[in-house]
């Protein structure tokens, strides 16, 4: 595949550029617009960000709260760019969650690429992929503009109150609702403000729904009711300039219901915890000690096109850089220890190991 082709075709314009009017929006291919997910690495992986009009579903791991990291950055990004936000969760006081949102990092001199130069001396280049340049998607056309589109969030610094004390944030608790009708009406009212017409987009909206089918909700047994809710959300999203992020724990649902939800998603991600002291995993991957979880990209939204998005890699490690910044990295397999000799044999699928591969989920 000719990765360096510069021909601009009206059908596949893969260059995403920031719009001048609204730095929070970026033009995507096929007449779509992107908004940032709040995580710069995730934006790059997804080809620009979340498409306006799409439904993003995140499959949770009940053993770890990593989906909260994705939600928090998503919500903070919207608030920082003054994009109205609707947040729903099963807690009694969802507004208190806003106090845990991260704040954009203060601009500093260093940038991420300097991390690569920390080993100045002899480098064994078996991880050669790390030293190639960025792929051809030129998200860095305007460095100042790039910064406005997506911020680096400092997870240790809480967001200033003034970002969410105004009218642009709505919090809804679904804890005591007997069904999802009230939430659906809330979402419908919110999305009506961003309905899509042929004119230019003034602003984009964000909806974040956390663990919508968790067992504490009264309707969590009503499979078809929950499916209708998500389906109606998906329908409403398509005709509006908003992105809806919904997290759900698939292990707490019947398998067919979980599959139906996965099909409804335009973009489908899942997060998984990494066990703390897994010696096998530590041998398999480098940088294992710094990883806090794994992110898997199952599906990327394909609005207005039939061509699927095939990624170089679909599993990424979630790390906290300097314990503050969320980064996603490709997994790097550690070099095989020549002395043991049996590593390749046991890592193959046909060895009949009783445990499913640690990276399969």
């Amino acid at each position: 595949m000719a990765a360096t082709r510069a021909r601009v075709s009206s059908f596949s314009r893969n260059v995403s550029t920031v719009t001048s009017q609204n730095p929070g929006l970026k033009h995507g291919p096929n007449g779509t617009m992107f908004i940032s997910s709040g995580i710069p690495d995730l934006d790059k992986i997804l080809g620009g960000g979340f498409s306006l009009g799409s439904l993003v579903m995140v499959m949770e791991d009940p053993e770890a709260p990593h989906h909260m990291l994705l939600l928090r950055n998503f919500m903070s990004q919207g608030l920082v760019q003054k994009q109205p936000l609707l947040y729903a969760s099963a807690s009694r006081d969802p507004k208190s969650f806003l106090g845990t949102l991260p704040s954009p990092a203060s601009p500093k001199g260093d940038n991420k690429s300097s991390d690569l130069s920390h080993e100045k001396d002899l480098r064994i280049a078996w991880q050669y992929k790390k030293y190639f340049g960025e792929p051809q998607l030129n998200l860095n056309t305007n460095n100042g503009g790039q910064h406005d589109y997506c911020n680096d969030f400092d997870l240790r610094k809480p967001l200033d109150r003034h970002f969410f004390s105004g009218n642009n944030v709505d919090c809804v608790s679904i804890k005591d609702s007997p069904n999802l009708t009230a939430l659906q009406d809330c979402c419908a009212g919110f999305l009506a403000k961003f309905s899509r017409n042929e004119g230019s987009i003034s602003s984009a909206g964000r909806i974040a729904i956390q663990s919508f089918c968790s067992p504490q909700c009264k309707y969590s047994n009503e499979e078809w009711h929950m499916l209708s809710f998500i389906r109606s959300l998906k329908g409403m999203a398509r005709s509006s300039n908003a992105v809806i992020v919904v997290t759900f724990p698939p292990s707490l649902l019947p398998p067919s219901c979980s599959k139906r939800l996965q099909h409804m998603a335009d973009t489908l991600l899942s997060v998984k915890a990494i066990p703390d002291e897994d010696k096998e995993l530590a041998k398999l991957l480098t940088g294992y000690q710094d990883m806090i979880g794994l992110l898997n990209v199952h599906k990327v939204a394909r609005l207005n096109t039939q061509v699927p998005v095939i990624l170089e890699a679909t599993t990424f490690s979630i790390k906290l850089q300097k314990r503050r910044f969320l980064v996603l990295e490709c997994l790097n397999q550690a070099p095989v220890d020549g002395s043991s000799g049996s590593s390749y044999g046991t890592s193959g699928g046909c060895s009949g190991s009783t445990k499913a591969g640690p990276l399969d989920f």
Binding site: F11, W224, G235, V307
Partner: protein
């Protein structure tokens, strides 16, 4: 008609055999199956495009459950078919069902999917006067099930109704539906899928490659033609297996290992 570039999918569906019928899928039920990893929506797009170019008096009734008109318009335009123009010319009836939700059973105005039946019937009877080759396409049966609140009976009623429309004594329509096979893998609530697989004349199944993701091969297709319309009383089953790559302006189909 201009020279068409038939690909393996067209051949497997029998679309290149114009001598029998101008629109070869008439009177046949095509069931398309896919999974989360590999979407088979491109099969619907291909059939949609071919149906319009098969004969000037062909028409399509499209029940959309998963994507709005704007999406299909853009996708088909890149494939060389102008859906907006077809809609204006009365050859495409796009029924947007994205927000359709039937009231629960037991409620006063529970009528199942009766409104959907009525819409289809109205369009078909109106079309039948001057159009000869009608195709009914349902975007996504699993979303239809959600719209029907999980009532397998209602969904099967609708599928049976559409299937009866394919018989020659009725309207001889073509019926094409897409469903997601991996939803039913756990063995529960398989009634709808089993029934449809039984009724279908042609099964098209899209799966990912066993070896994983690839940039130049997006998956594999299995097309099973039950050849239920046979002339001499001998029914045969034809199976086609090939790989595909989806592009903006079409699909490339090739036998495994023969990618150019």
């Amino acid at each position: 008609m201009e020279q068409k570039n038939w690909n393996l999918l067209d051949e497997a569906l029998g679309l290149n055999n114009n001598n029998a019928k101008p629109w070869p899928l008439c009177g046949r039920f095509v069931l398309v199956e896919d999974c989360v990893d590999t979407s088979a929506a491109f099969v619907l797009h291909q059939i949609l495009k071919r149906s319009f170019s098969s004969h000037p008096s062909s028409a399509v009734v499209f029940l959309a459950f998963s994507h709005p008109f704007s999406h299909y318009d853009r996708v088909l335009r890149k494939l060389g078919c102008n859906l907006a123009a077809q809609r204006d010319n009365g050859r495409l009836f796009f029924l947007d069902m994205l927000m359709l939700q039937c009231p629960d059973e037991g409620k006063a105005n529970h009528d199942g999917l009766a409104s959907v039946f009525e819409q289809i019937e109205r369009v078909i009877t109106a079309l039948h006067q001057d159009k000869k080759f009608i195709s009914i396409m349902i975007d996504d049966i699993s979303f239809l099930e959600v719209a029907a609140n999980g009532s397998s009976n209602d969904v099967l009623n609708l599928v049976h109704y559409c299937h009866t429309l394919t018989s020659d004594s009725e309207y001889g329509c073509a019926f094409i539906a897409l469903d997601h096979k991996d939803i039913y893998l756990n063995g529960d609530r398989t009634a709808v899928m089993l029934e449809m697989e039984f009724l279908a004349d042609i099964l098209v199944k899209a799966e990912p490659l066993a070896t994983g993701l690839a940039k130049d091969v997006h998956g594999q297709l299995m097309v099973l033609d039950k050849e239920t319309q046979h002339r001499h009383g001998v029914s045969t089953v034809k199976t086609h297996n090939f790989h595909f790559k989806i592009k903006e302006n079409g699909i490339e189909c090739f036998y495994p290992g023969t990618k150019i």
